[in-house]
């Protein structure tokens, strides 16, 4: 299905900026702001990446897992679906969906070693928590698990544009895309083009003639870039205290912590 994004469910559920920028009622009541929710999701993205590295999971699993998490919170609240549980559960689910299954026990082992976020000494995750959350995540995602990513398209475009020298930079940008809600907003090939154009700029290469030839939707490509640039502007250097403060607003919901 790699080449079949447009027939996929994902293509039918691209969201608007407004839709991904809503804070759930229950979260507002706990005093969480839009900024808080963004910080938490960024922290969780980093956490998933680190956890995956420990558990030796492929990059693709992380990318898919982050998309699951971000998609979930479009309709679910952070307080009802504790991100510290959701993050490893999404990784676990994505490892299955992407055919490189992680062991639940192992993931929990690393999750215990690697605490999510800068606080939470009381936080403990058990296998049971992970498996319970896996099911809740599945339900929240309406069991739709296929996710398309921009990496492959980017490689093809870069080859086509003879811009392979900006491959590394494009890659860095693509990885940072997952720190934003961009994967929910635009089709993967548009995300790829946005990153390529940005990367070309950074390295003083001109991708414009090629993009024009491609008849790409420049409006969308531009939107991707602006979103990324906004992200760098606001979240390039996050004060850990801010993230900690945001996380502290969430109740702790693991089994172990309750008993």
């Amino acid at each position: 299905m790699a080449a079949d994004f447009w027939a996929s469910y994902q293509s039918k559920q691209l969201l608007s900026v407004e839709e991904v920028s809503r804070v759930a009622e229950e979260d507002l009541e706990l005093g969480l702001t839009l900024q808080d929710t963004r910080l938490i999701k960024i922290a969780m993205t980093t956490y998933m990446r680190d956890l995956a590295q420990q558990a030796k999971l492929r990059q693709r699993v992380v990318a898919t897992a982050v998309c699951y998490m971000r998609r979930m919170y479009v309709s679910k609240s952070l307080c009802e679906y504790d991100p510290r549980l959701v993050a490893p559960a999404c990784l676990y689910l994505a490892s299955k969906a992407e055919e490189s299954v992680a062991q639940a026990k192992l993931l929990v082992f690393y999750a215990k070693k690697l605490k999510p976020g800068p606080e939470n000494g009381a936080y403990q995750l058990e296998v049971k928590d992970l498996l319970d959350m896996e099911l809740r995540v599945l339900e929240a995602l309406d069991f739709r698990l296929v996710v398309y990513h921009p990496y492959r398209a980017a490689v093809q475009y870069l080859n086509d544009a003879k811009l392979t020298d900006v491959m590394q930079t494009t890659w860095s940008l693509l990885n940072d895309v997952y720190r934003t809600d961009l994967p929910l907003l635009h089709p993967p090939h548009v995300v790829a083009l946005g990153c390529i154009h940005l990367a070309a700029f950074l390295k003083d290469r001109d991708a414009k003639p090629w993009l024009e030839d491609l008849k790409a939707d420049m409006h969308a490509v531009r939107a991707v870039q602006m979103e990324l640039l906004d992200h760098y502007e606001q979240y390039a250097n996050i004060d850990p205290a801010l993230t900690a403060a945001a996380m502290a607003k969430l109740p702790i919901r693991t089994r172990a912590a309750r008993t």
Binding site: L145, F201, E212, A236
Partner: protein, 405 residues
Amino acid sequence: MSDLVGAKRYEKGRTLGEGTYGTVFEATDKVTGRIVAIKKIRLGKYKEGVNVTALREIKLLKELHDPHVIELIDVYPKKKNLNLVFEFMTSDLEGVIKDRSTVLSPADIKSYMQMALKAIAFCHRKWVLHRDLKPNNFLIATDGQMKLADFGLARIFGSPDRVFTHQVFARWYRAPELLFGSKQYGPGVDIWALACIFAELILRRPFLLGESDMDQLGKIFAAFGTPTEAVWPGMTSLPDYIEFVPCPPTTLRQLFPNVSEDCLDILQKMFTYDPRKRISAEAALSHRYFSTGPAPTKPDRLPRPPIRASGDNDAQDRSPVVLSPAHKSRRISFPNLDTNPQSDGGQPSTGVRRAATGGRPGGPGFDPMSISDEKGRPMLNSVDKSYLRKRKLMMDLALQESEDA
């Protein structure tokens, strides 16, 4: 009506059968009044949450919608089970083949094969390999339409960087490249299996009944002759290749004395040794076998297969004449052979993957999706970041230009 969700939506009925990873029940959908089949999958049995096979099936069927693919109507968890709701099917192709009171005309066989090929052509268009084709995975609806089911072994094959397990398919339907241990196979494996089903429809018994993988190869070679490097270039370099005593081919005509020339020709093309030369599902559908007479029987005119009886969960009580392969043992191989971290997600295999895919874009050694490869996942460094911020305005303008252009 809106509270009729999850388990509350269905009125459970009799048991339809027992699968490898769960029981199947008949039920009535209270919302639509439709009869459905609910596959109940036990969770957490191995402390590994949702069964990977079930998850694969859910993942793919949520995306595959076609008249010849079984419809997954709903999924809901209940207690320690995950329930998959499918459209109800009255029987399957195995039932048709084995029922000795059913006579299949050449037109009937053509009809079944056309539906089977349509199902597979659709899957392949969507970059999905089924990998478990056999008569009992083609289910038959009340209106005679045949639909492909059981996607628990299916895989997306769009990613050229993936190596697959060769432990797929029930043995009798396994393509020679799989038996030789190929890990980079493609849609041809499904075509070979369909060819075996084709032969089985004609002969009314399984065609190549190997008793072991080795014996399976022997049976294949006895039928079509031992292939040489000339007919199948690359064969001798397959991982589990072993030399067989050369065996001359039987002519296809000897094997299928009563079929038409067109039928023989399409069979030959589907049973081609070299997977690259084997006919595709799409091409098979436009083969003249389907355009010359007799026309395929309309599905609702096909001979009625025996309706499943309550609790008839397996083949052995249907026909004493035909032996089944150890029915469940074929499944022993499936769980995660290609999905456990050792052979796939773990780092030791990345080198293998990379080596195996040589000419990928990005050049050798560039494995972007591998997290164990540090340079695959760098973050933008801070110099770049501040540079970016500075150039943001400029870029904005430049972009506006290109947008106007």
